[in-house]
């Protein structure tokens, strides 16, 4: 019997088409059973079909939506903000001059409805160009007395993220994509800079502008810290305890300032009010805090002015113009401390409250050590995306651009008598390359250096891994952490309960980066910044009391309302306020990404509008019933409703980690009850895109899933639809990839079935031949002949034909022939143009680009020596020959000819090639056996792979066994089965199919030995398992050397395969030889076969001489010859060079 679900889908879709034409009454009929809560109809089952929301979500959001959203926000909103913040360029010389930026656009001109045509991305890849669009600004400036305006001034070029709204591929149809040589399944979200695809990885950071309270119980320190980040600067303010007294600490304030002094400086002069602000009427807190008043009284500070002067004297600043201590004090309170709150008038109340709140949090943590924050809690983290990083960089470059421009105009305006009226535009274009090259350099090197934050960050960008489709996809969802990899703390690496559904629980690398590099789960969204001000206004409208008018004594008796960490008011009815706010959000009145939650420990309602929060959609539950009903899902299936409609109608909402903690979320519809507020859309979305490939992962031991996540990215498969048009440095392709027999929902959602990386192999779990120990696999030779595991390796070689200043240039010569008019061996694969012919075989030592460089390239143009060329051909050097796949000749952006030759090798599996199933079970090929010798079953089927059963007990990969059974059932049934996490085809159903087809329920078959023809003693677990071929192949690794190159300095053999290096006898091997006592072997290995060197040593002075002469003793009398390692000789000489004389005392050995 086929599984019910599949059947239902088929029925459903056919009946829907009929239903949609039917009248409303028949529609109602369909709905009725739902409202009565009776048995569900076959067509729509909310419990199971609600997963359809997931493809709907991915249709809108895609897998890399976070990158695209962030970039779109940057080019559409953030750029304009940056322009606004750096609006005017003024001159120091001419006070009347100004230049004002009015608008900025990327890619399209003023008034234009369409984007400027830009080079298609694939051409940029091939021609080593940058995929970018011009940045236009509109300016207004003075020229003499008149004001001119200029539109569409190009100030540089902005690298464009693929598939963003500025990209040519945005909204393109599949046909259009094909005509642009672009793969419709490619997710985009990366940049093309100088022809390489670069990804800006998502960076994880501690959230900014929020208070984090930490305690060190050993030292008895409690500290509240806040990292303030504005466009201008970044600084950190601490409120710390020291001997139970509380101080404020800031980098630009020389010493710690007693907290009461700071509060007085911020205008709260009355001790009573300070007490009210910090402690409220909590007697314990008051007792803890009281000591701080003494500190202030001892200093004799009573008034705000005194406090400001005290503070001003402590500030260390670098100012060109000195301020008085009082002014310094004001400046410190207004702008330096807690810099993200800037005070523009004399009312420091907001700031005083913020400091008081920090102090209160410290007091709370002193009273109850549990009231500290967790740095590793996902709700306290923010993700920094491409857009934010680009915006930081752009603002820096734009400021530089403006200051250069200002310097330029000042220089001109300073000239006393100018002939013509000054035109500012003439000097603005001069250095316009700065922005373009600045952006390009940062993305291509990954070095983000920002002057204004004094920030140097390396390794921000990475080359997009195109090993396989999933590896590219996995890279786009990767999150890297700011923590140092070397630090030995377990906290940041540990699995956080709060990452449920937000970050993949399985996908993290092993080794040093374990737990620090994470991956997004399938249904996550990362927010972009939302405007704060309207939200603040709205809060006041729906009953929040403004903080400016609140009496200090009643502050803590109500719930505080915090907007992005800043106290804006209080509310008496927090739950009512939160409910109203959520209602507004659910009706689409305010952005769905604004989160609100109550924190009862802090008596606070927190609202967050900032960007970088991770959130995910959940179904809203009211009164114990899911808001998503059958008819909604029906409409979704019919395409009459989109995911956004679900949001707008308040059926589904986004929750961030903090708000999730304020909710009760049911996993399944059966768990619904009165208290439940939300329902999970699909539980398998806890996993990310890469972990989603694993069938039945919930039956595996957890580390196995993690191993598979690492290996899935190394699997060779189809890369993209345009894979044959690509010319990449290194490309692995599988010749006959197959989609897995046992799929998962994730596989379908991410289109892995369209670009698979692996093949369904018939596996027999048994021992065979002894060449299968340590996870080695036995491969069927006939299978290999039929194309199992066959792959192609494409390697690119680039040559540039340079032009030299003396008008000479590199040329490509033709081929040379022998006396029979046949090309010589080296030139056998060349065509008449001196380039390898497509399809030709190139062997080691043959030439495929016959390039020559001029011999007189360094000379000047003046002496007309006849230009002769010296051959500098590009040789092919590899153990196996290749075929020339493509030759491309083009012109790069500096007008030099660019030649790319793509070489192809087709490889069949051989001994030592690495394979793995999807369950973290890797193994190398141990032996390739003739099909005749392999066992076969009743149907005459022999396995493609024999796997040793010892692989199972310790690995506990039960999922792999179930995959085999489901796969086998699928083969017999003619269907593709599902192994979706927490679901999938049921083992029971699968066994039923097996039994119905005359097989054993457990997947075991009776096999016959191929050698003897006898029936095997045991039943063999036998069926299809999806196997991946990993990129590690013997051909790329095999290496041996007898004699070969040596390093110049030490005269020891070189290191590494690429340099034809020696095989090192390492320390541990040396230890073995010593322990064995084989001294002569040791001597041979470490000296004679390495860097033996004959030196002349003077027995008298012990120093080295040469040519039988001792230079220090001026005699040849005592000089003897001996052999020492060249490294030892080098050491002696280096010691001599630093005034240490090593003297050798020689004795006779025998």
């Amino acid at each position: 019997m086929p599984p019910k679900r599949r059947d239902s889908v088929r029925q459903g879709s056919s009946r829907h088409s009929v239903k949609s034409a039917a009248s409303d009454e028949s529609f109602n009929e369909l709905l009725k059973p739902m409202y009565k809560g009776k048995a569900l109809t076959d067509e729509i089952n909310t419990a199971e079909d609600k997963w359809n929301l997931l493809p709907a979500f991915l249709k809108v959001k895609g897998l890399v939506k976070q990158h695209l959203d962030s970039f779109n926000y940057f080019v559409d909103v953030d750029l304009k903000k940056i322009i606004k913040a750096n609006e005017k360029v003024l001159s120091d010389v001419d006070p009347d001059f100004y230049l004002k930026y009015l608008d900025i656009r990327v890619g399209y001109k003023h008034g234009a409805t369409e984007m400027d045509p830009i080079l298609p991305p694939h051409e940029c890849r091939l021609r080593d160009l940058t995929y970018s669009a011009p940045i236009y600004v509109d300016v207004e400036y003075t020229r003499g007395r008149k004001v001119y305006s200029n539109k569409n001034l190009e100030i540089g070029k902005m690298p464009i993220m693929l598939r963003s709204n500025k990209c040519t591929l945005n909204g393109a149809s599949e046909g259009r994509m094909a005509s642009l040589d672009e793969c419709p399944l490619d997710p985009g979200g990366y940049f093309i800079v100088n022809g390489t695809e670069k990804v800006i990885l998502v960076q994880e950071q501690l959230s900014k502008n929020r208070i984090i309270v930490e305690a060190d119980e050993k030292k008895g320190i409690v500290q509240a810290s806040v990292t303030s980040s504005t466009h201008e600067r970044k600084s950190k303010t601490y409120v710390v305890t020291k001997n139970d007294k509380i101080y404020l600490k800031h980098n630009s304030i020389g010493e710690e300032v007693p907290i009461v002094v700071i509060l007085k400086a911020a205008g709260v002069t009355s001790d009573l009010e300070i007490m009210q602000l910090v402690c409220g009427d909590n007697a314990t807190y008051q007792d803890l805090f009281a000591i701080n008043f003494e500190e202030c009284a001892k200093l004799g500070i009573y008034t705000q002015q005194q406090a400001l002067e005290y503070l001003g004297a402590k500030v260390k600043t670098m100012r060109r113009h000195k301020l008085t201590t009082l002014q310094e004090g004001i400046e410190a309170v207004a702008t330096t401390i807690i810099a993200h709150l800037t005070v523009t008038d004399l009312d420091f109340k907001e700031k005083a409250l913020y400091i008081a709140m920090m102090t209160r949090r410290v007091i709370m943590a002193m009273d109850n050590p549990k009231m500290v924050d967790d740095r590793d809690y996902v709700g306290n983290k923010r993700l920094e995306l491409a857009g934010q990083l680009m915006s930081l960089l752009f603002e820096d470059l734009f400021k530089k651009f403006n200051s250069d421009f200002k310097a330029n105009i000042d220089k001109i305006l300073k000239k006393p008598n100018r002939a013509t009226e000054f035109n500012a535009l003439l000097s603005i274009n001069v250095h316009s390359n700065n922005i373009t090259s600045g952006l390009n350099r940062a993305i291509s090197t990954g070095n983000w250096s920002l002057k204004r934050f004094k920030m140097e960050r390396a390794g921000v960008t990475h080359v997009l891994s195109r090993l396989s489709y999933v590896s590219a996809l996995g890279m786009m969802t990767r999150i890297s952490s700011q923590f140092e990899k070397s630090r030995k703390v377990s906290g940041p690496r540990a699995l956080q309960p709060s990452q449920f559904g937000m970050l993949c629980t399985s996908d993290t690398p092993e080794g040093e980066a374990c737990g620090l590099v994470k991956n997004l789960a399938l249904m996550t969204h990362i927010t972009t910044d939302d405007e704060e001000e309207p939200i603040k206004k709205l809060c006041f409208l729906i009953g929040v009391e403004n903080i400016s008018a609140i009496d200090s004594s009643t502050l803590h008796s109500n719930f505080g309302v915090y907007l992005n960490g800043t106290l804006i008011g209080t509310t008496r009815f927090p739950s009512k306020f939160v409910t109203q706010f959520r209602k507004l959000r659910r009706t689409g009145r305010i952005s769905e990404f604004i989160s609100i939650y109550t924190n009862s420990h802090q008596n606070a309602v927190h609202i967050a509008t900032d960007g970088g929060r991770i959130c995910r959609p959940l179904i809203i539950v009211e009164n114990g019933a899911s808001k998503v009903k059958a008819h909604h899902l029906l409409k979704l299936k019919q395409g009459r409703m989109q995911f956004d409609d679900f949001l707008k109608q308040g059926l589904v909402e986004y929750l961030d980690v903090n708000e999730e903690n304020d909710c009760f979320i049911a996993l399944y519809e059966k768990d619904l009850s009165e208290q439940i507020t939300h329902l999970e859309i699909e539980p398998f979305t806890v996993l990310g895109a890469v972990a989603g490939l694993i069938p039945y992962p919930h039956h595996n031991q957890s580390p196995r899933n993690t191993y598979q996540c690492a290996m899935g990215k190394q699997a060779i498969g189809a890369i993209a639809y345009n894979q044959f048009k690509r010319i990449d440095t290194l490309l692995y392709l599988m010749v006959y990839p197959q989609q897995p027999m046992v799929k998962t929902k994730t596989i379908e959602l991410i289109d892995y079935d369209k670009l698979p990386a692996g093949q369904n192999a018939t596996v027999a779990v048994m021992s065979y031949s002894g060449y299968d120990i340590e996870d080695a696999l036995v491969l069927n030779k006939a299978s290999i002949d039929r194309g199992f595991g066959r792959c192609q390796v494409l390697r690119k070689n680039t040559t540039v034909l340079k032009r030299y200043p003396n008008h000479t240039q590199d040329i490509v010569g033709g081929m040379r022939v022998n006396e029979n008019n046949e090309p010589i061996f080296q030139h056998a694969s060349l065509g008449p143009d001196g380039l390898g012919e497509v399809g030709c075989r190139v062997e080691s030592g043959q030439v495929y680009i016959n390039k020559s460089v001029p011999t007189n390239a360094g000379e000047s143009v003046m002496n007309h020596s006849e230009s002769t060329h010296r051959e500098t051909p590009v040789f092919y050097k590899a153990p196996e020959p290749s075929y020339i796949d493509q030759v491309m000749m083009s012109v790069s952006d500096n007008e030099q000819a660019l030649i790319k030759v793509l070489l192809r090798q087709t490889r069949r599996p051989e001994l030592g090639d690495k394979f793995s199933s999807r369950h973290g079970q890797k193994g190398v090929c141990g032996i390739i056996v003739q099909q005749e010798d392999l066992p076969f079953n009743d149907d005459g089927i022999s396995p493609d792979i024999i796997m040793n059963p010892h692989g199972f007990p310790s690995r506990m990969t039960v999922g792999k066994m179930i995959e085999l059974i489901s796969g086998k059932a699928g083969v017999l049934n003619g269907s593709l089965e599902y192994g979706t996490c927490f679901g999938g085809s049921k083992l029971e159903d699968m066994s039923k199919i097996l039994v119905d087809n005359g097989f054993n329920y457990s997947g075991k078959d009776m096999l016959y030995s191929g050698i003897t023809g006898e029936c095997l003693q045991a039943y063999i677990f036998f069926g299809p398992i999806y196997y991946q071929k990993l990129k590690h192949m013997v051909l790329d690794k095999m290496h041996a050397r007898a004699r070969g190159p040596r390093a110049v300095l030490t005269r020891q053999p070189t290191e590494g395969r690429s340099r034809d290096g020696g095989l090192r006898l390492g320390e541990m091997e040396r230890d073995c030889v010593i322990a064995y006592g084989a001294s002569q072997l040791l001597l041979e290995r470490l000296m004679l076969s390495s860097d033996a060197f004959e030196v002349d040593i003077c027995d008298k002075c012990g120093l080295m001489g040469y040519n039988g002469w001792c230079t220090s003793c001026k005699t040849a009398e005592h000089v003897v010859k001996m052999t020492i390692p060249y490294a030892a000789k080098l050491l002696f000489q280096e010691l001599l060079s630093m005034n240490i004389a090593p003297r050798l005392k020689l004795e006779d050995v025998f």
Binding site: E273, Q306, H321, L346, I542, T579, R589
Partner: protein, 255 residues
């Protein structure tokens, strides 16, 4: 959505300001633990033209102890453009009063409260009369705190004295002062916004405001005038709930 805020919100298009508004009771969302006890009519009045209504808050002063009668405010001063308000109140010298300290500080006999007036929307002065609540919108609110500027003054005088002394005992050498002409605009220190604000305050001088005690006749008369509810027309809202919510969030417009 609750209709709680319909009556007293300025986003509400009002056909007739001073008219009586119908009473709105928060509609409970099926929560029965908050039953309607009684209904009170609310009346919004408009204050007389050219009158500014400001609320003065005294944080740190118990709400039961008003500044009136014998402890009434002596004088008030205002810097009109920067909205800095100062008020002098008498000190009760009979209790907890250190005469020595007072002499040290040059005979303190009054306390100066100061604060900045802030414009706040949606705040009302209210009076319950005849079973009705009468509301009148406030223009500004200020929190007045004791400013203790006699201490600052004393420190300043001490500092001046110190400087004078130093000058007298200092060296009698003639100092050569070199004059240099600087261009006026380029090297002037650019002050931060907070410093600019302070400079503005310091540059401005106080204007005295007469203080009328709350118990006085004039004050009572004004109070009566403000809270006089003569227009009892029922205010009909011509916005429906949907539109009202739209108005609330009009500058957010999520979608």
């Amino acid at each position: 959505m609750s209709k709680l805020f319909v009556s007293d919100d300025e986003d509400e298009p009002m056909t007739n300001t001073g008219s009586e508004s119908p009473t709105f009771i928060p509609q409970d969302h099926g929560e029965d633990e908050d039953p309607v006890v009684s209904e009170i009519p609310m009346i919004i009045t408009s204050k007389p033209a050219q009158t500014q209504l400001c609320a003065l808050q005294y944080p740190g002063r118990p709400s039961a102890r008003h500044y009136e009668n014998e402890s009434h405010v002596l004088s008030t001063r205002l810097k009109p453009s920067t909205d800095l308000l100062e008020a002098d109140v008498p000190i009760d010298t009979s209790k907890f009063f250190d005469v020595n300290k007072s002499d040290e500080w040059g005979g303190v006999n009054k306390q100066t409260l100061s604060g900045v007036l802030i414009g706040l929307e949606g705040y009302y002065a209210a009076n319950v009369q005849n079973g009705e609540i009468v509301l009148c919108q406030l223009d500004k609110v200020a929190q007045l705190r004791p400013s203790l500027n006699y201490i600052d003054k004393e420190i300043a005088t001490a500092r001046d004295l110190h400087r004078l002394e130093n000058n007298h005992s200092g060296r009698d050498t003639v100092q050569v002062v070199q004059m240099s002409v600087k261009s006026s605009n380029d090297n002037a220190p650019r002050l931060g916004e907070a410093l600019m604000a302070r400079k503005k305050v310091e540059d401005e001088s106080f204007t005295q405001l007469p203080w009328v005690d709350s118990s006085s006749e004039a004050s009572l008369a004004l109070k009566k005038e403000i809270f006089q509810a003569d227009n009892r027309n029922v205010l009909r809202s011509n916005t429906n709930e949907e539109d009202y919510i739209g108005l609330l969030v009009k500058d957010i417009s999520a979608n």
